[in-house]
Every structure is written in C-alpha cells, then in structure tokens.
Amino acid sequence: MSTETLTIGKALNLGLRKAMEDDAKVVLMGEDIGKLGGVFRITDGLQKDFGEARVVDTPLAEAGILGTAVGLAMRGYRPVCEIQFDGFVFPAYNQIVTQVAKMHARSKGRLPMPIVIRIPFGGGIGAVEHHSESPEAYFAHTAGLKVVAVSNPVDAYWGIQQAIAHPDPIVFLEPKRRYWEKAEVDTDATPDPLFASRVVRGGDDVTVLAYGPMVKTALQAAEAVAEEGRSLEVVDLRTVSPLDLEPVFESVRRTGRCVVVHEAPVTLGLGAEIAARVTESCFHSLEAPVLRVGGFDTPYPPSKLEEEYLPDLDRVLDAVDRAMEF
C-alpha cells in the first residue's frame, strides 16, 4: 500500500502524470499549461517531463483547443483539454456541443471521441466575472457528453485517470475553491467506478445530495445537525451525467426527504432533474417535496456578494428544516 497526503490539485497532477505514463497517446492541451504549469499549477512539471508535443501550450483560443482535439482524437490521440476557467468554456461551446458530443453518433460509432475537458468550476475564490461559474447543466443536457464533478483528492486522482481511459468525451469539473483540500490517497487501491454516486455519511432524517465543492458544505451541515440530534444522509453524486440515482432512491425511500445542493442556478439545474426523477421513483415514500438549494437566477455576482449567492451551511440547514417541518 502506498498512501500519500495530497491536495485535490496535487492528486490531479499525479493522476495526469500516471495517465500520460500509461498511454503515449494522451496529449494535454491548454492555455499556460506548459512552462507555467497552468494557472492553478495542475499540470506543473508535466511539460518538462513529457515534452512540448504532449503538453501543448496552445494559442489563446478555446474553440481551437476543442476543435483540434477532435482532429487529434480522430487520429487516435486522447486529448485532455484544460479550460482555464468555467466562464471561458463558452468560446469552445460550439465545438463541444456540435462536434465533440455528436461525432460518435454521427459516424455510427466509427469516430470515438475520447476527449477529457477539464474545467475548474464554481465560486468562492473572490474572482472577477466569468471565473466562478457552474456550467454543468449545459453539458449534462447535451447527449453524447458525460459530466463528472469530483469533490476530494481520492476521486481526483483516480477520476482523472478513469476519465482519460474512457472512450466517451467527458467534461471533468474540478472544484477550484477546494483545490487545496487534503486527504490520504492510496495510489495502490482499487478505485470506485467513475459513474457511481457514493453515500459519504449515513443518516436517517434527510437525504442531502451534492457534488463537487458542495459536498464539503453538505457534510458540514450533517455535522451541525448531528448536534441537534438529527442525522443527514449525504450522497456525493460524483457523476452529473449519467446520474447514478439508485443509491439515492434507496436512501430517500428510507428518509422520505431529499435536498439537492449545487452552486449553479436552480432553474433547470441538476436539482430540477434530480427532483423529477426522485419524485417519479420515490413518490409514495416522500414526506416532503424535493427541495433545491442553489445559486440564484442572476448572473454570478461580483465577489463582494458571492457569499450571499453561494449556498452555504446555513442555507442547507434552512432547507433541511423546511423539509423536516413540511
């Protein structure tokens, strides 16, 4: 057993390194990912060790990153594209939605697109506009894509490797404000499957669902209500598309209450889809409507207001109270 204490950022770095060692077709592409090692240093040292042909400092053009990744994938490569910040993915949106997502179906399976699109997402870092967004619903709504959102170093280390080895295109969301969170990572372990949710804390009163940066918030909420004698079951969804909801249904049938937490605006967000599916599958077990805690239907606000905008411990607790009192 080989266990290390790693931050999410370092776990991603080691996971990328491992993936590049395992498969010579893996090519990293992105802005400032070479010499600089990326603005979050996730690719630190990789260009030095793997060379400029495998860690490509690209022109400043996100559509170019994804569009050339399509061509490289057609040629048998496995491009891993770094989008510097969530809000910068939109220049590449056309390529992702009209090409990356559809090429496999268009070609009747002849042109697989094993492309990973790494995006640091979410707020809470005091940044300027376009640096704090949660665009997962756009991608989850697009057939042909898969969307993963990791919450911890263990999933970061294994998840990035599993995503790179996977034959379908994956939007890989990294919780940027948690990049520096640490945990023990056993690099010899057998990892959990990529597209599986996980119950991270058992409980009986309310099922709380989260992914990415909100998992920590949900766990804090569970800790807080425990002092009041209530218990929350917290599920880390881990994958946003496809959703793995069987464990959630099982949990909700027991608790009768469900709260979904994400930073993205609630309207037509993942919570809306989850609420619908939970309602369809657990209708007779529900003691309260599925509640959503998320961002408001506003543009992400200037950073002096982001603490007001982002779901936090209190807003999760408020939703838990409402679910209990219903």
Binding site: P59, A63, G64, G67, G71, N94, A105, K108, F195
Partner: protein, 379 residues
C-alpha cells in the same frame, strides 16, 4: 436611428476587372482557359497524360450527373434537401485528385465531387440528404471525414488531425474544405492561427463560389480571400476554380509542401455556384441572371471537353461512353435512393456513446416496448 453608411465598393474579385488599389497583375492561376486552350504558368507546371485528362473529364461529368439526379430526386420528394455542387465540379475534382491515398479530407456539406474522388459511394452521401443517417461512409477507410454542417468547425478538425500526423511522423497532409462565407467564422481563423503556429500539414481549400446562401462576398471580406493568408503567415494562392488542371496542380503542390513540413497553404478556388444554395433556396431573389450567364461561359466541363476535342485527345466514342456511364450512374442512384430502407428507430440510441449509459439503455427499452405496444394492439 441614423442610416448605416453606404458600403464602399469592394475590390471586384472577378479576374480582369478593375481593382485600382490592388496590383494589376493577373493573380489567377490558370492552366486551361475558358475556351479550352492550354496555357503554362511559371510556378505550376503540370505533366499530365491524355488518359489522365480523359479520367478527369469522366469525373467531372459523372459528379455533375449525380448532382442533377439528386436535385431531381429532391424535387420528387425522395430527398429532404440537396446541396448542389453545380459549377464547382472542377474545384472539387481537382482538389480531390490531388490527394494521396492516406491524406485526409475534411469536407463541408457540398463536397460531393471530393467524396467521389475518395471512393465514397454516392448513395452514402444521398442517405444523409434523405434523412436516413448523417452520412453512411467510413471516414477512416475513405480518408474523407463526414460532412460538417456547422460552418467552419471542420477547419479545426483538419488542423488537429494534421497535428496528429506530425506526432506520428506520417508523411501525409489534410485538406480542409471551406467556402467564402466560412472565412468569417472565428473557428476558421483560429484554425489558420493554429496551423501556422504549429506548422501543421494542412491545406485550406476555399471554394469561393461568391455567395454564402444569399450574401455576397463583399459582406465577408474587404480583400481578396487568398490575400488573408499573408496575415496568418503562410502562402495564399488564387486559382481558377473552374479549371480542373490548375486546381490539381496548385493543390498537389500545396499538399506536397505540407507533407514536407513547410506548413499550411490557403487556396482560394475562384468559382461560382451555378445553382441554388440548396433545393430550398431561390437565387433569383439575390443575384442577376446576367451574372449566371457570364459564368456559364466559364463552365468547367465545357472547357475540358473543348480541349480534349480540339487536341484530338478524345474521340466521339469516348464522349459517348462517358455519357452512357453517367446514365447508368444516375439509374443506380435513383434506384438505390428509392429502395433505401428507413433506419431502425431504436438505432438512434445505439451509438450516442461508445459505452452506453444505463439511463439511455432504459430509455431505449421503454421506447421499444412503447412501439411494440401498438403492434400488439394491431394498430
């Protein structure tokens, strides 16, 4: 609201026309005049046998017949839509025949002539326009990517594929097809920046057919398109797109340069869309009949036929045999189209992913059961 200022007259890109603020030398590479006279160009020598000339003629005639047949099939309700290549046969056949077997083409949705040169079955192109699939051919085996409908996206794919060729040490190149309208797309410009920065073995082949559906070139560019290449840092050349020999020579040279590591070239094949943008379009609303008449005099097939006849490089029997072959092709296309089976409805679920998701598999099962319920009910 104040009116927009009148746009100033654009450089007339028609060869020979006045363009007072541009060099007046002839910038159009031409090896065969509209009258069918063979001319030499100092930069583009072309050694070509009589048999090769006859083969090019055959290509041109067959793809035009395919195109005419497809338009007729659309009119008869057998195709949802058809994007005609009428008038652009020489540009496409010349470019396609310049490619090596292991080169890779990245077409838009009008490159039927290039498809022909890559050995793609016309019925595999027709199936797209009939709504049976999104193109039935194997892009890897043919070296001809599937049609790209969102304008310009394919230029980045061609560039990325070329970057893959570089990494593989392969001595091949990609040929990216685009139109005059596409040159306004950001992705096309990004592709040219990337291609230049990485010296990627890609050739951008722009068929300037003068219109992006209804919008004339003047709205896309204030300079002749081939001159844009200079701004990206690689050569640009304008070729007579209705001259199959010139297109062949220019494209061959550009592809060879790319294969040898000299980076990209931008080719502007100056041509004209003789027909509508697609069968849904009405070009009489935006262009003059006189313009069409003028371009008819530059017809790509007529000039090669004139050349072959006058130089005794082909006889009447040859021309007749090509006509017969064209008739047979049209018949095969017609029969194959009418007999083409509809796709299995459940198949739409099957290749969304390489690894099917449980959710989509369940949706498929539900759909199949739902359909079956009608059959059980005898409806």
């Amino acid at each position: 609201m104040t009116a927009l200022p009148e746009t100033t007259e654009m450089v007339d890109p028609v060869p020979g026309a006045d363009a007072p603020h541009l060099p007046q030398r002839s910038e159009l590479v031409q090896l065969l005049t509209p009258e069918g006279e063979r001319v030499e160009h100092p930069d583009y020598a072309l050694e070509i046998s009589d048999e090769e000339l006859r083969n090019l003629y055959r290509d041109l005639v067959l793809v035009r017949r395919w195109d005419v047949e497809a338009t007729a099939l659309q009119r008869q309700g057998e195709l949802g839509i058809w994007a005609s290549l009428l008038g652009q046969e020489a540009a496409q056949i010349g470019a396609g025949r310049a490619m090596a077997a292991d080169d890779m083409a990245f077409p838009t949705y009008r490159e039927h002539g290039v498809a022909w040169t890559r050995g793609v079955d016309p019925l595999h192109v027709i199936s797209l326009f009939r709504g049976v699939d999104n193109g039935g051919w194997d892009p890897v085996a043919t070296g001809f990517n599937l049609y790209t409908v969102v304008i310009g996206a394919q230029c980045l794919h061609a560039t990325g594929y070329a970057m893959g060729l570089q990494r593989d040490g392969a001595e091949n190149a990609t040929l990216a097809f685009l139109g005059d309208g596409a040159t306004s797309q950001g992705e096309v410009n990004e592709a040219m920046i990337w291609a230049a920065s990485f010296s990627a073995p890609v050739v951008f082949f722009c068929q300037n057919n003068q219109y992006a559906i209804s919008v004339p070139l003047e709205r896309q560019s204030r300079v002749p398109l081939y001159q844009r290449a200079a701004g990206f840092g690689f050569p640009g050349v304008r070729v007579d797109g209705n001259d199959v020999l010139a297109v062949l020579a220019v494209t061959r040279q550009a592809l060879q340069a790319a294969r040898e590591g000299q980076g990209p070239t931008f080719i502007e094949a100056f041509t004209y869309r003789m027909g509508a943008h697609t069968t849904s379009d009405d070009p009489t609303r935006y262009r003059l009949a006189s313009e069409l008449e003028e371009w008819k005099l530059r017809d790509p097939i007529a000039r090669l036929k004139a050349h072959l006849s006058r130089q005794d490089k082909a006889d009447a029997a040859f021309f007749e045999s090509v006509e017969r072959e064209a008739d047979q092709l049209a018949e095969r296309i017609r029969g194959g189209t009418v007999d083409m089976p509809d796709p299995d409805p459940a198949a739409m679920f099957d290749t969304v992913y390489a690894e099917q998701t449980p959710w989509l598999a369940a949706q498929r099962d539900e759909f199949v059961a739902y359909r079956a319920s009608f059959e059980e009910a005898g409806e």
